[in-house]
């Protein structure tokens, strides 16, 4: 239960074009995206993707436009069929489902939130939110009652009778969220769900999502092209480039040890003090020192800098639930704040 992932993606390939099988051979033989397009006219959507998506965690898939994020997430509910590879959901091969089984799986086990909201324009907020239950054949009074709960939960109480066009973008996406929540599925897929919103609303929605996640423990696959958003939400971060995974793992680890210049470029612009946490920088406990105080492993470096009042000579003890688990040296902290830039780029500077 703890060890088996909720969703396993194994060696997934997706090639768009008239004859993907032949193109697949070429890709497996080492042909790149550009070469494939110019030689055969096929688009390499995904290549050799393997990801474990853990239950009750937020897995964030990040990449630039065209890197294949939408294509990847649509393989999980099979809106797109893979060219090669496997997708397991709860240990069950999702590619073996027939049409009816697939439909049932979509009805009960997964929901999705879309970048462009994709609400039904001719239905009220209440009917839009109740859609997943309506599809399952739940009676009107029951589904409206359930939808109402989630409409209130996302903060749209009072807007049930409104139509989507009467709402702002942020409110429409709350409806999208309420719709996904009403389906009461374990898995929630979110394709750039907050990308169309302005920064303040976006931050509100991220907060709402995190609250809901603590409360509901759903397995969330979240897609974004924004690193700040990714770092705020991710338990597990997957970085895609040209349809391939370039690095995946704990977001703090990726931030401290980017494996690729592409990722370095990504991470060089963000406010590291606000994102990095004590846990990622601390070292083993060494009792000889006199500590300036105790901190929690989940504190951000920013809060620590504030506490030390800029004094780089002091050290703090890291304490988790009353047990000392390590220490943090302000000098290490300062070093961690400087992004590692690859040698190539340094020469250019």
């Amino acid at each position: 239960m703890v060890n088996s992932p909720k969703i396993e993606i194994r060696n997934l390939y997706k090639i768009f074009g008239s004859d993907p099988k032949t193109a697949l051979e070429k890709v497996k033989a080492g042909m790149g995206k550009e070469a494939l397009l110019s030689d055969t006219g096929h688009v390499l959507g995904l290549q050799n993707i393997s990801i474990d998506i853990n239950e009750s965690a937020i897995t964030v898939v990040m990449g630039l436009s065209g890197s294949g994020k939408s294509t990847l997430i649509r393989h999980i509910n099979r809106l797109i069929e893979p060219t090669d590879g496997q997708v397991f959901i709860d240990g069950e091969d999702a590619l073996l489902l027939d049409q009816d089984e697939l439909r049932n799986k979509r009805r009960t086990d997964m929901s999705m939130v879309f970048q462009k909201f994709a609400l039904l324009p001719h239905r009220t907020v209440l009917d839009n939110s109740a859609l997943p239950l309506e599809v399952r054949g739940v009676s009107k009074s029951e589904r409206h009652a359930e939808a109402q709960v989630w409409i209130n939960r996302v903060g749209l109480g009072g807007f049930e009778k409104h139509y989507p066009y009467q709402l702002s973008g942020g409110m429409q996406q709350r409806v999208g969220l309420a719709r996904a929540l009403t389906s009461n599925s374990d898995i929630m897929l979110m394709d750039e769900a907050f990308s169309a919103l302005d920064p303040l609303i976006r931050s509100d929605m991220q907060k709402l999502l995190l609250e809901l996640h603590v409360e509901l423990k759903k397995t969330i696959v979240f897609i974004t092209h924004d690193l700040d958003e990714a770092l705020r939400l991710a338990d597990h971060l997957v970085i895609l480039k040209d349809g391939a995974v370039v690095q995946q793992g704990d977001p703090q680890g990726i931030l401290l040890n980017p494996s690729d210049p592409y990722i370095e470029a990504f991470v060089s612009d963000i406010n590291r003090a606000r994102v990095l946490r004590v846990r990622s920088v601390m070292t083993a406990l060494d009792k000889k020192f006199k500590y300036a105080g105790d901190v929690a492993p989940s504190d951000t470096l920013e809060s620590l800098i504030a506490r030390s009042e800029g004094d780089t000579s002091c050290k703090f003890r890291v304490v988790e639930e009353e047990n000392p688990i390590g220490q943090i040296d302000m000098q290490d902290l300062v070093k961690a704040l400087v992004p590692r830039v690859s040698e190539v780029e340094q020469r250019n500077l």
């Binding site: 809106l79 979509r106 139509y163």
Partner: protein, 343 residues
């Protein structure tokens, strides 16, 4: 001496040609040539080898009027088979038209007209449009043209109804299957380009002129195309993001069609219905040539007997009907569009 004599001689067919000499029918041209021998030599220097020209050189060769006769015979031969299939199939159309005409005329005006006005109010919810329709009907009734106008309306109502019942499912099927769309589009293009008189002729022979279904079919064939086209287009234009959402939540094809695609395509479908109504009206006038009752008959009388006043008044009535039908259907489209909030 005919121009192509040499040809048949060279082919060695002279004997076969002359076998039929004298037994064949005479064409008007050769008859004229006989009575007026001087004119015979004034043919073109190098005539096109048409059937009649070849016949002159070789009496065994068929004349073009025999070709016409052959086509006619072929049509008459398949006609009986065609009729035995089409007649029962289309009989309900006759009943429907007769029934509608009967109801519209048999019921007293103070029942029919208020019902129509109620219907207008129901579909478009517009005071202005309903008032306009009321005034128009009062005017038509005042100049004693109400019955003819009602007959025309009855025919349009039945034909439009059938166009919708047949056209919307065909349009849906076209939107769902690219192959079906590809194979049907040329037929729809043909129906839209064919001058109406061209297919009136076979219809007249297929059904008797006294049967209402004759003009019913003529109107439907002519007017059904826009409903089909715009249903197809409307469904194809439905926002693909919304369709994807429908799939994501596991909607069955039926749920998707009824809950998403048709409602979102409705403004387009209604635009098709509007065009269908207008085309039915245009055709109902022509159809009065084949016994469709209504204002068209009066227009026809105006033309035939050069009764200028009768023709003009009937024409005015048709213009009024056209404006009414157009306003009402457009107002209905505007209403569903705002209901659907596509602004």
């Amino acid at each position: 001496m005919a121009f192509y004599d040499g040809l048949f001689n060279a082919l060695g067919l002279r004997e076969w040609c002359d076998a039929a000499a004298g037994s064949s029918k005479m064409s008007m041209a050769s008859l004229l040539a006989k009575t007026n021998p001087d004119a015979a030599d004034e043919g073109p220097v190098f005539p096109f080898p048409s059937m009649d020209e070849l016949y002159q050189a070789c009496p065994s060769f068929p004349q073009s009027r025999e070709f016409t006769a052959g086509v006619e015979e072929a049509f008459l031969n398949v006609k009986d088979v065609l009729k035995s299939v089409l007649d029962p199939l289309t009989q309900p159309l006759s009943w429907l038209l007769e029934f509608a005409l009967f109801i519209f005329l048999a019921a007293p005006w103070w029942v029919v007209v208020p019902l129509i006005l109620l219907f207008v109010w129901y579909v478009c919810r517009s005071v202005a449009v309903t008032t306009f329709v009321t005034i128009s009907f009062a005017f038509l009734a005042f100049i004693d043209h109400l019955d003819a106008a009602l007959q025309t309306l009855a025919i349009i109502a039945v034909c439009t109804g059938i166009c919708i019942i047949l056209g919307v499912p065909i349009g849906i099927a076209m939107a769902k299957s690219n192959r079906f769309q590809r194979s049907l589009l040329p037929l729809l293009d043909l129906l839209q380009t064919l001058p109406t008189f061209v297919y009136l002729i076979p219809l007249i022979f297929l059904f008797s002129v006294t049967e209402p279904k004759l003009y019913g079919i003529a109107i439907i064939v002519y007017a059904i195309v826009p409903v089909i086209r715009l249903t197809d287009l409307g469904i194809r234009l439905v926002d693909q993001d919304v369709v994807e959402a429908a799939n994501t939540f596991g909607m069955s094809p039926r749920q998707k069609l009824l809950g998403v695609e048709l409602p979102l395509a409705l403004p387009n479908i209604m635009a098709g219905v509007n065009q269908t109504i207008m085309m039915s009206l245009a055709m109902v006038v022509i159809a009065s040539l084949v016994s469709a009752p209504g204002l068209g008959v009066l227009v026809l009388r105006g033309i035939r007997n050069l009764e200028l006043g009768v023709g003009l008044i009937a024409g005015l009535g048709i213009v009024l009907l056209a404006v009414i039908l157009d306003r009402v259907s457009k107002a209905a489209i505007a209403r569903v569009s705002t209901d659907q909030t596509f602004k």
